[in-house]
């Protein structure tokens, strides 16, 4: 008999996420992977600032809540003194790609043996839908009300493409939470990232294209379609770097 059970990797706390938001799916995947790899009891997670700020209440392992953008610095501090533990960050695009881009790049470049779960939903969700570094050209947000204009507001930043060039990076893949097939790929990639960390391979990051139906002003279904039709062409899915391939 196949019975569906809540993973032991999540606490019983009800999440504060909006209906239709993909953080719930992503949390579940990360938690399931930690249970399946048997690393939950030696995991230390770093929550960031943004919608996922309360992830420290949901992941059923030791957690630290880092200042905005500093998750990779905080994770570095933990991993350097506890090298035998498994350390991961869970960050959004504002946290990772805007205010925390320096901390993230340098952690990656040092080859910190940590795993970064990067939820890219092209907006600042927690603060009410402002323009993010990953907001698409023409995308309307509360601070780009006529749509993002690259002449004054720059271009969506392509994190996975940037990070593939850093020597310290062991594995970076961009995946999307659209449909069962892709969700399975998300899980596979996150599992591989944690496995690489266990093998001491270096910095691993999974960029996960995610939805924000409330701030995008769409139904959850339309938001999924929007990821496929608008986000994926700008942020192509795939493996950007994998040092294990050559092993």
């Amino acid at each position: 008999m196949i019975r569906y059970e809540k993973t032991a990797g999540l606490t019983d706390k009800k999440t504060h996420y909006c209906p239709g938001c993909t953080h719930g799916i992503l949390h579940k995947i990360v938690a399931e992977v930690m249970v399946e790899l048997g690393i939950l009891d030696k995991a230390v997670g770093i929550a960031s600032v943004g919608c996922s700020v309360y992830s420290y209440e949901y992941f059923n392992c030791d957690m630290q809540q880092a200042p905005h953008g500093r998750a990779c610095a905080t994770a570095t501090g933990v991993k350097r003194v506890l090298p035998d533990n498994v350390v991961f960050t869970y960050q959004g695009d504002g946290d990772l790609a805007s205010i925390g881009i320096a901390e993230t790049i340098h952690a990656a470049n040092r080859g910190e043996n940590i795993t970064v779960i990067f939820a890219n939903n092209a907006t600042y969700g927690m603060t009410g839908g402002q323009m993010a570094p990953t907001t698409l050209i023409g995308q309307k947000t509360t601070t780009s009300q006529s749509g993002r204009d690259p002449h004054t507001q720059g271009y969506p930043i392509k994190v996975s493409e940037m990070f593939q060039h850093l020597k310290g990076v062991a594995y970076v893949e961009r995946v999307a939470l659209t449909g069962a097939q892709n969700v399975n790929k998300v899980k596979k990639s996150i599992k591989k990232a944690f496995q690489y960390q266990l093998e001491g391979k270096g910095f691993t990051m999974i960029e996960v294209l995610s939805t924000c139906p409330v701030n995008w002003g769409m139904s959850p279904y339309d938001a999924m379609q929007w990821v496929t039709e608008k986000m994926v062409p700008e942020f192509p899915l795939g493996v950007y770097k994998d040092v294990g391939k050559d092993d």
Binding site: D41, D62, A66, R70, A73, G77, R80, N85
Partner: protein
């Protein structure tokens, strides 16, 4: 142990090693560079962690992570670098993590200069970070005292689960003095850290390090809990030195390098028949207010001397409660006060009285 002639910044590094520091995270800035330079050699050799961060911001957040993991952690910086660390310092205080921060002051504001200064008294005692928090701030006047308080400072941080700052200036960092690195310091109870995020395999339940309390009643309760620790520090940790305070005509209040200099001024004033005492705050937060109750009523006034345009003088005026006239004499911008200047400021006391 025999004394060794040693440079201040090197002594800071060696004292941290003696105190059992597990990890150092920092970023280069003059005039404290010898601290990370020495530790970059000593710590890896001892199997400990040294990491030069990409910025002071990153360094203090690495301190946050490693302190949250239960280790003995420190950083050092100077003025404009300490300014960058304020975000992390506020988080560390809010999340109740112990760590040691060494601040080697230089001239400001902005990029300022690299010569010794005491213009970061406000930064240290008022805090540049957000929220209701305090650091325990110790301002030694010699390299020996710096070494002693670095060793005790880690224990203080553990005891209160709060950052401790050692506040010196570039002169103490750069000069050489004879130091006993093994001079015993008061021993405190060994503190265990059952709250540390070491993985649930190592403790019962789930440990979380956070300073977030969205519910205002919870946050107020947390603030009151922090205040109870600050009250304990005010009761237990105030340190000061009284010099020649039996029947002084005037009292000088000075800390750190300036106090050292004022000792010479007091000798010079003796020669011209003026009897001057000194209150030397060692903790500048908590400030030694009670020392001011010990000033005899025969005193004609208080002269505050600082290598700034007057910052600690605010605390002196609060502690003085209007009993005596308060004068201020300071040099700033990296100028070290000459003992004759403090001598002359006492002789011409009225000229320097504050409005």
């Amino acid at each position: 142990m025999p004394k060794k002639l040693i440079k201040g910044n090197e002594a800071i590094a060696l004292a941290a090693v003696k105190a059992g520091v597990d990890a150092f995270f920092g970023y280069p800035i003059t005039p404290q560079n010898e601290v990370p330079e020495y530790l970059s050699k000593y710590l890896p050799e001892a199997g400990k962690v040294f990491l030069q961060a990409e910025s002071e911001v990153a360094a203090i957040n690495m301190v946050y992570g490693a302190a949250g993991a239960g280790k003995r952690v420190m950083t050092s910086s100077s003025s404009v670098g300490i300014a960058l660390k304020q975000e992390g310092i506020s988080y560390i205080a809010g999340a109740e993590l112990p760590c040691l921060i060494v601040s080697v002051m230089r001239g400001g504001p902005g990029l300022g200069g690299i010569q010794p200064s005491q213009a970061d008294y406000y930064q240290a005692t008022r805090g540049g970070g957000n929220g209701d928090y305090h650091l325990l701030v110790i301002a030694p006047e010699s390299i020996q005292e710096t070494v002693d308080y670095i060793k005790e400072g880690f224990d203080m941080a553990d005891q209160y689960r709060n950052p401790v700052m050692i506040l010196v200036d570039g002169l103490i960092g750069q000069m050489m003095e004879s130091v006993d690195l093994d001079k015993p310091v008061p021993l405190r109870d060994k503190i265990s850290k059952p709250w540390a995020t070491t993985g649930t395999v190592n403790h019962s339940g789930r440990n979380v390090v956070s300073s977030l309390f969205l519910d205002p009643q919870s946050l107020e309760a947390h603030n009151l809990h922090l205040k109870s620790k600050y009250d304990l520090m005010r009761t237990n940790e105030v340190r000061f030195e009284l010099i020649n305070m039996e029947t002084p005509d005037y009292v000088i209040v000075a800390y750190g390098t300036t106090a050292r200099i004022a000792r010479s001024s007091i000798e010079m004033l003796k020669e011209v028949g003026i009897n001057v005492g000194m209150i030397r705050p060692i903790t500048v937060w908590p400030f030694p207010k009670k020392a001011f109750d010990l000033i005899p009523s025969s005193c004609k006034g208080i002269l505050v001397a600082e290598m700034s345009l007057g910052q600690m003088v605010d605390d002196v005026e609060i502690a003085n409660k209007g009993r005596f006239e308060v004068a201020f004499y300071g040099r700033t911008g990296g100028i070290v006060i000459d003992p004759t200047e403090i001598r002359d400021a006492i002789i011409n006391f009225k000229k320097w009285v504050r409005d």
